[in-house]
């Protein structure tokens, strides 16, 4: 019995090494990593690159990109530096994206593993709760949540976490139902391990690959949701974000479309990077699937 438990570990490590190698051989995934790393670097370097508040007026309004070398991406209707906004906006987007994903994944794992591991009436009840959340249109629910909590970065993160956790919960539940009958789980139970230990130490690591793939896509979804919220004026009013830049640029769409275009490109590049990484992870963690294609 201990042999079963022990032999699982080294195999897992070599599988991880193979996955990393296969991921790095995938050019699209590497491009994704490079893009995401640049966005992260931009977010981290924002206070040094643009120490001034990105919401402050610094120059003549409506400077086009390239018109004044001090403001390479131009200025908006209030004379705010677009380049500073893009750099500071990366902070909010990535912060919201990763934090909301963390909340969603943590809740989803807790609920999904409880439902899948214990089964019975707990499972029935939790599946009902998931169904309620999945039936109500997520973005509408999110608008309501954020409006109720009054718009702030925390409210946006919390709201996105609340509307996205059922995706992970469903996945984790399905994985747990499949894994809980396997021999090594029976063995662990026979050794008298507690439920918590079996759930988190024995089953969860084996269910991780699909969770990791879904999590990377969830970051992308969260960034898209944040941008849509702040575009509609439900973002944090004291923080500049790509979505709010598009929202205010929209008013000058006829005369200065670059104000809308530039932050949009930033969103697309970041989200694209995350999706490419998600695809790469999917191929790397499902070797069987990758070989077939």
């Amino acid at each position: 019995m201990t042999a079963v438990a022990q032999s699982a570990r080294p195999r897992r490590r070599s599988a991880a090494a193979r996955a990393v190698r296969s991921f790095l051989r995938n050019p699209a995934a590497v491009v994704g990593v490079v893009f995401l790393a640049s966005a992260l670097a931009m977010a981290l370097a924002a206070p040094w690159l643009y120490p001034e508040d990105p919401l402050s007026m610094v120059a003549r309004p409506y400077l086009w990109p390239g018109q004044n070398p001090r403001y390479p991406l131009g200025t908006d209707s209030l004379g705010r530096d677009v380049a500073a906004g893009v750099v500071w906006g990366a902070r909010i987007s990535l912060l919201v994206g990763f934090s909301a994903m963390a909340i969603g994944v943590a809740t989803g794992i807790l609920v999904g593993s409880t439902a899948g591991y214990f089964g019975g009436w707990i499972d029935d009840l939790l599946v009902r709760v998931m169904e309620v959340f999945q039936t109500a249109p997520a973005f509408l629910l999110l608008i309501v949540l954020v409006a109720i909590l009054s718009p702030s970065v925390d409210a946006v993160i919390f709201g996105i976490g609340v509307v996205t956790w059922p995706t992970i919960a469903r996945l984790v539940r399905a994985e747990f139902r499949a894994i809980r009958e396997k021999d090594f789980v029976t063995a662990a139970r026979g050794l008298g391990y507690g439920h918590a230990r079996i759930i988190f130490v024995e089953i969860l690591p084996n269910a991780l690959p699909p969770i990791i793939v879904t999590a990377s896509v969830m970051v992308a979804t969260a960034i898209l949701m944040e941008s849509a919220l702040s575009f509609m004026g439900l973002g944090d009013p004291n923080q500049i974000s790509w979505g709010s830049m598009i929202g205010s640029g929209r008013e000058a769409l006829r005369t200065a479309w670059f104000l809308t275009a530039i932050p949009g490109v930033a969103i697309v590049v970041t989200v694209l990077a995350l999706n490419l990484i998600g695809d790469g992870l999917n191929d790397a963690l499902n070797p069987r699937l990758a070989e077939r294609e």
Partner: protein, 328 residues
């Protein structure tokens, strides 16, 4: 006969399962909205500039906001049970009428988007699968990745820049030309011209999903025996693809189309904002801002019902297409 009975059984089970879900949604939404700081009376008082305590108390009594929470919930459930969605003090009309005015616009927008997404998605996916690994597949796969990563509202704005502002071909907002008295074919064309940009911006994300899904499904089906048989009996590659592969590959695609209904509805809220499209999404957004909770509860309930209906239709479709599928 046996078929009909089977479908009816499926239908009854799905509807029975939907009852607790809908009830859960109503209760969840109700308490969520009651947690909100401020009610309709506060917002109205704010808009008037000032209001005395007496006016506020009167407004609250009028809106039924002065009784305990549980009583309000029971009252609301009672209203629903009598087949009504309640009354909106802000618009001074029944919620059902208000929603009835906006629903067709949203359904038209969503329906057009789903048709665009499915048609383009299945086409692109089939093309990708047929050229798997070669350059058309690569190019299309990058294109779908791009569609998948683009925020719908931003695509909408960029389409407006190109097609409305620069080229002047299509209108930039609204659902019809205001003040024009059109009839017959002109009316239909006018509506279509207003529909193209919003429906396209809403559809692109789903074009990507269906494209990728179709590619995978077509590749999967292509390796099955009945396809080899069809090719062996001398059918042309086009006939094999259209009749034997794509048809089978459609099953997973339509399943997702049902699941995505709620997502498309959420996306419609943002796209309706961009194009000032008079739909349900705008109504929901406005009622959040005005704390007009009867309207909001109505919209949330109705949209959940629409999601349930869409999923039921898909389930039935599958049970009919493929008798082996036991409905969940």
């Amino acid at each position: 006969m046996a078929d009909t009975r089977r479908l009816l059984r499926v239908l009854r089970r799905t509807l029975l399962q939907a009852v607790p879900t809908v009830l859960g949604i109503v209760v969840l939404n109700f308490f969520l909205l009651k947690l909100a700081p401020g009610d309709a009376a506060d917002v109205m008082a704010g808009e008037f500039g000032a209001a005395t305590e007496e006016t506020m108390a009167m407004l609250r009594r009028q809106f039924g906001l002065d009784v305990p929470l549980l009583q309000q919930l029971l009252g609301y459930l009672g209203t629903l049970a009598s087949g009504s969605l309640g009354f909106s003090p802000r618009y001074n009309m029944p919620v059902a009428d208000l929603i009835g005015q906006r629903l067709p616009g949203t359904l038209l927008l969503m329906g057009t988007s789903i048709v665009i997404a499915l048609a383009l998605g299945v086409l692109i996916g089939t093309l990708m699968a047929m050229t798997a690994g070669r350059w058309p597949d690569r190019v299309l796969s990058v294109t779908t990745q791009f569609f998948y990563s683009v925020p719908g509202f931003w695509v909408g704005l960029m389409l407006v820049v190109v097609f409305s502002i620069k080229l002047g071909w299509l209108p930039s907002g609204g659902d019809r030309t205001i003040g024009a008295s059109l009839a017959g074919i002109d009316l239909v064309l006018d509506r279509l011209r207003h529909l193209i940009l919003p429906a396209t911006s809403l559809a692109l994300f789903y074009v990507a999903i269906y494209g990728r899904l179709t590619r995978a499904a077509v590749l999967e089906v292509s390796s099955q025996d009945h396809v080899r048989t069809a090719a062996a009996k001398g059918l042309s590659p086009v006939a094999v693809t259209a009749r034997h592969i794509v048809r089978n590959a459609l099953i997973p695609v339509t399943t997702l189309a049902g699941i995505h209904f709620g997502g498309i509805l959420g996306g419609a809220v943002v796209v309706e904002t961009v194009f000032s499209w008079p739909g349900l999404g705008r109504l929901a957004f406005e009622s959040v801002m005005r704390r007009d909770f009867n309207v909001l509860l109505g919209v949330l309930l109705l949209s959940s019902l629409l999601v349930i209906i869409a999923n039921t239709v898909v389930d039935l479709l599958h049970a009919w297409l493929d008798p082996r599928i036991e409905v969940r």
